[in-house]
Every structure is written in C-alpha cells, then in structure tokens.
C-alpha cells in the first residue's frame, strides 16, 4: 500500500511537471509557425514589388534596343542610298566620256553594249544586296520577338512558382507545427524556382548562335552579289575590248 502510494506520487509529479513543459513546447512551435506565417505575409508583397521594378527595367531596355535597331537600320539605308546616288552620277560620267571618245559605229555600239551590261549588273547586284539585307532584318526581328516571348514566359513561370510556393507554405505554417521544416522547405523551393529561371535564361541566350548564323547567311549573300557583279563587269570589259579590237587578246 505504501509502495503504491509512492508510485502514484511519482506519477503525479511527472504529470504535473510534464504538462506545462508540453504546453510550453506546443506554444513555442505555434509561435515559430506564426512568425513564419507573418514573414511570408510581410515579404510576399516586397518580392512582388521587386519583380515589378526589375520588369520595368527590362521593358525600358527592350524599348531602347528596339529604337536603336530601327535608328541603325534607317541610318544604314540612308547612307546606302546616298552612296548609290553618288556612284550613279559618277558611272554616268564615265559612260558619257566613253561615248564621247567612241568614233566609229563599232566603237559606239561596243560602248552601248558595255553600258547596258554594266547597268544590268548594277541592278542585279543592288537587288541581291537589298534582298540579303531585308531577309536578314526580318529574321533578326523574328529572332528578337521570339527571344522576348521566351523571356516573358520565363518571368511568368518564376512569378507563378513563387506565388504558389508562398501560398502553400503560408497555409502549412498555420496548420503544421514544424516551423523549422516548413522554413527549410520554403527556402529549397524558392532556390529551385530561381535555378529553373536561370536555366530558362541560359536556354534563351542560345539565340546568339542563331544570330551568328543569320550574319553568316547575310555576308555570304552579299559576297555572292559582289562576286557576280565583278564577273559580269569583267565580261563586259572583255566583250568591249574584243568588239573594238577583234585581233587583240583581252
């Protein structure tokens, strides 16, 4: 009987001691959960605000790039047109002098044939160059737009991921008592979302290779136009020389 009473006393002591400890521990975890919940509520708008600020910078830069490209192309077209006009005049002066020096009908006809061949070669060269420029610009514009679309998608994915993660963890921190685990999970998920964005970004930047290819195509097309022109002009010169002096070797 004495023994039982002693056991009961120990049990009662343990119960009375442990209950407050357990209550305290429960409250402590709940408080940690509340702190995390409050943190999420407090920081979420800050992240949204930062997204908006950085988004504005991206849009500003995008507009600047678009303007600069248009300015560049306009300037290039102007310079090209200016040069062409200047050289048209000079070519006509050369043609006039050739006609002036031609004495016989054969020489006059040779000059006319030369002029016609050169004019056709000039038109063909300019058309080929203009086509190369237009094709290049259209492809560049499409590439630029595709890049912007891909960037927009990557940004939206990141925004949505962050929103989903924070919503989920906010709900969990209210119901779950393990604040430490929730916090760690939250951090891991945010890091994963950032890494996904960086991976998307790296993929988008592979556009450099596409642009390099477009540049190569443009250069090759212009080079071909120039080579074709040189061949045509050389032929015109040889034809002229043969016509005015059939016995001479060109």
């Amino acid at each position: 009987m004495k023994m039982n009473s002693k056991k009961l006393s120990i049990l009662a002591f343990l119960v009375l001691t442990l209950i407050p400890i357990l209550i305290f521990a429960k409250n402590a975890t709940t408080t940690a959960g509340n702190v995390l919940c409050n943190k999420i509520v407090e920081i979420f708008p800050k992240i949204t605000e930062r997204f908006t600020t950085r988004e504005a910078k991206i849009i500003e830069k995008k507009t600047e790039i678009s303007q600069k490209i248009q300015e560049r192309w306009t300037e290039q077209d102007f310079k090209l047109a200016e040069k062409r006009t200047k050289w048209d005049e000079n070519r006509n002066e050369h043609f006039a002098k050739l006609q002036e020096k031609a004495q016989t009908d054969v020489q006059k006809q040779a000059v006319l044939t030369f002029i016609q061949a050169v004019n056709e070669a000039v038109v063909a060269r300019r058309l080929a160059i203009d086509t190369a420029i237009t094709n290049f610009r259209q492809a560049m514009e499409q590439t630029r737009i595709s890049r912007q679309t891909a960037i927009g998608a990557a940004k939206n994915t990141l925004r949505n991921s962050v929103s989903t993660i924070l919503d989920k963890e906010k709900n969990e921190c209210v119901s779950d008592t393990n604040a430490v685990a929730i916090r760690q999970n939250l951090k891991n998920e945010l890091v994963a979302a950032k890494e996904k964005y960086q991976s998307d970004y790296q993929e988008i930047e592979k556009i450099s290779t596409t642009i390099d290819q477009l540049i190569t195509i443009r250069k090759a097309a212009i080079e071909k136009a120039i080579q074709d022109f040189k061949v045509a002009v050389e032929k015109a010169r040889n034809d002229f020389k043969i016509a005015v002096n059939p016995t001479a070797t060109p």
Partner: protein
C-alpha cells in the same frame, strides 16, 4: 662660326614652319575636297574602259563600307541580358 649658327637656326625655323604646312597639304590631297574621311574618292572619268571598270570596283568597296558593322546588331539585341538575368534576384530565400 656665327654665320653658320645663324644659317642653322634659320633652317630649323623653316623646318618647324614647313612641317605643319606639308602635313596640311598632304591631308588635302588624301581627302580630296568634298570627300569625307573614310570615304572613297570618286574617280575622274577619262573615257578609258579600264578606268571605267576600276571606278565600278571602287563603287563596290564604297557600298560595302555602308554594310559593315552587322556584328554590332547582335551585341545590341542581347544588350539586355544583365537585366533579364537579374530578374530572379527579386527573390532572397534567406529573408525567411
């Protein structure tokens, strides 16, 4: 001796005066009136077929100079890379 020194001084002064004049004249010859720096001067028409063809070849060189610098367009298009990359910096997981 004094006479020789005087002549030497006069020669030095003349050289100093002539250097900028020669430089200026040289630049005028290279540029040719009406031709901007970096541009190809228009060849004079002579009535010779070879000169006419040479002029056509110079025409191509000059036209090509207006088509250069296409690589800059690539740099321009991707010049927002930093801003795009920094977008994810909006999140700092250590804030929680």
């Amino acid at each position: 001796m004094t006479g020789k020194n005087t002549i030497a001084i006069i020669i030095v002064i003349l050289v100093i005066m002539l250097v900028p004049v020669i430089y200026f004249l040289n630049k005028q010859i290279i540029l040719t009136p009406g031709v901007k720096e970096g541009e190809i001067a228009l060849p004079q028409a002579t009535g010779n077929i070879d000169d006419a063809v040479d002029a056509l070849l110079k025409e191509i060189d000059d036209e090509q100079s207006a088509l250069n610098g296409v690589e800059d367009e690539k740099s321009l298009i991707i010049s927002d890379s930093q801003e795009i990359s920094d977008f994810s910096q909006s999140i700092n997981e250590n804030e929680f």
